[in-house]
Symmetry: C2
Subunit: 236 residues, 2 copies
Amino acid sequence: MGSQKRGAGRPAKPVLNRDLIAEQALELVVEEGLDRLTMTRLAKKLSVATSALYNHVDNKADIVLLIQDALVSQVSVEEMLRLTQGEATLDSALAAWARSYRAVFAKYPSLIPLIAVTPVSDAPMTLRMYNIVAEAVVSAGIPQDKVISVIVAFESFLFGSALDMNAPSNVLDAGESSAGSSSLERAIAATKSSAQEAGVATGSADQQVQHTNFYAEPPFQLGLEALIRQALELVQ
Amino acid sequence: MGSQKRGAGRPAKPVLNRDLIAEQALELVVEEGLDRLTMTRLAKKLSVATSALYNHVDNKADIVLLIQDALVSQVSVEEMLRLTQGEATLDSALAAWARSYRAVFAKYPSLIPLIAVTPVSDAPMTLRMYNIVAEAVVSAGIPQDKVISVIVAFESFLFGSALDMNAPSNVLDAGESSAGSSSLERAIAATKSSAQEAGVATGSADQQVQHTNFYAEPPFQLGLEALIRQALELVQ
């Protein structure tokens, strides 16, 4: 093949920018784990010199912020924006935000411990999300000094729920070593029977996300309802 | 130093058993990360031949179960046992179990994604905990088919709350890139002011655990109260 033909058939090499770096960093972390994320490996994946990468990001911590922003920008804040406009209710906005948040992070469970402790100050899309949510819930009457508690209580539950979506459906099964676990066994049997009646095990309760764990939805609904009710009671 | 003196001054080398393996595996994972947990490295840390380790555990997955059991056995179920005996209330038992659970896992945040998806069937202390909790909440009137939802909703929140305890106190601070984040800033300022009045920032709200994140307690209390109320309403 001549160089002209090869040049014509291929798209131009994309210009290195922070979006592209975030995308490839996320891929690297998902495929190989956070420990394998280094400036050198990321530069190699991007087919650029490490020095070129340093023109755009300072260090690994900076890349983590890019990854955080790339994830958070996938979380839908549509219903929160509508709430601020007076076109949605607090409970529908919290529920829509929570479901979207959980779905995004359920795709990247291994990143959750990192994202949960990464300060948001240099992650513009993350700041944007928090600001939209804060403005919306304040507009709905949540007192200023309760906004952070509400957001963090939801997030704590959502991070854990995102992890639970990745659990196998038999995560709590007692299996063969069931001696002394009869109360647990009865509870699991009752849950399965109840879930089958409700059609949960066939996935009809939530088609938005592929569940590994068929039984993740009822506990999520229970906790979400609890948190939404608590938030509604804070409204002044 | 002669060999006799050395022999007399040192304790005998501990016999290899699953408790010792769990303890050293936990140490290895905390110090070096889960990726570095291999049969070979663990054997070296235990100063035994890899073949000796294989006499006690089958593989890495088996070691993860040992670690899970070692952590879960630290979670207090005292108040749940008292509930089953009719000597405690459902809300006090759920609160005590939840606080203890969060405190244990807050010490090992990097293990949370793994523990959250590890089936419990071959982890006897973990099965024991679930069985005690299931028996207790059923004795208090939670319907059989809601027990798993209640436990999993709590756990989801507790895993996330354990992560949040490890966040720096400034995790949500907008910092210098605060353009467009004024609602968030006002909420943070109101939270800090309110927390200082309540003495949260000086740690007086919870002396049991060393907080990195001074502001972890109010959202935890909000979510815990929400979940406990939801559970109480299920009582028949």
